[in-house]
Amino acid sequence: MRDEETGSWWQQASGQAIFGALKGESLELAPYDELTFGLWKQESPAGQVLAPVSKDEKEYDSKWEAEIQKLPLVLTFPGTALQSRDVVIGLEVAGASRAYPMSAIIAQSPIQDRLGGTPFLLTAGPDGKSVRAFVSRLDGADIELFRKSGGDKWVLMDSASGSEWNFQGCATSGLAQGKCLERLPLLKDFWFDWRNYHPSTTVYRH
């Protein structure tokens, strides 16, 4: 990205200026989500959606994901566990980074793991497409969460208090009701890109 004010070039993946007057500066990462529109709308009924630019609307490609898969590969990391354009969820905690193949998350959600000393939960949402990560620690104690089986509502349950948790990471019933878990930022990315910016990343294996 280039800023109009100084013409400095900013790297998307890191938010760092890599050339120009602001070289070395960093933008603060805003907490963000990558969700299905349906789920976002449920959580933010009063929210605003970027309107299509009418002259460009016909260019928005409904098969963008498939089209991107066809683009030439910029980088490959032969000998690593994944293919360049495998979609991963990348997490970085206290300098430690790990890539979770999207396919593994969908199949095994929720995944309970630990990175840089922090226990966390990586889970797909009720739509089976959106992914969030939460620090699985309640009042200083590590907790374990799992999908509550039965019923058609998407609910997580923790083993310590038996409370029920929603996809926002907040307890909706039980002893912990009203409490919310801390969110961890994550990046949905292609393996080659994540690996490029996180050379020491590990890959999740169950």
Partner: protein, 174 residues
Amino acid sequence: MCPVAMIPEIQSANRKSFALALTFALSVCLGLFLFLAPAVIIRPFRFQSARALNFAMSVRQQAPIWSLIFAAVTVILAAFLWRRVSRWKKVLLGAGICLVAVSAVMSRVDYFEWMFHPVPVPGFEAADRSKLDSSEMVMSVRFGSDARAYPIRAMAYHHVVNDVVGGVPVAVTY
């Protein structure tokens, strides 16, 4: 004048023309380099090492001034050479001028951004008025009570949207 005495003069005139032509060619090449080197290094779908990128950007930073200087030098040299050369060489002179002119123009254009389509002034619609399918992916941010969704299908085309959410300026990029 004695014809024999003229020979060294002709030779020196030829040598001067040759030197001028060489300088002309060099000036065209350097002028063109200022545009082509960054363009080739930063071309899409290719990996750029930090060093190569830094080199390309440095060249690009200097290119607006230097491409003009080389264009001017090229034109002046062409003017000197014009009457000394045959017709087909005049075509070469013209081509050289065209090349440095293109380089001078391109050095001032952000052609890297032609493949992206930033939204200058983003428009928004209420969540319940959007025609977006509920299975479409969006990027979303929330500051205070202000929530925004940016459909990824649109972001994959526009790539950058500048917005202010709950008083916080954000650059949304995909």
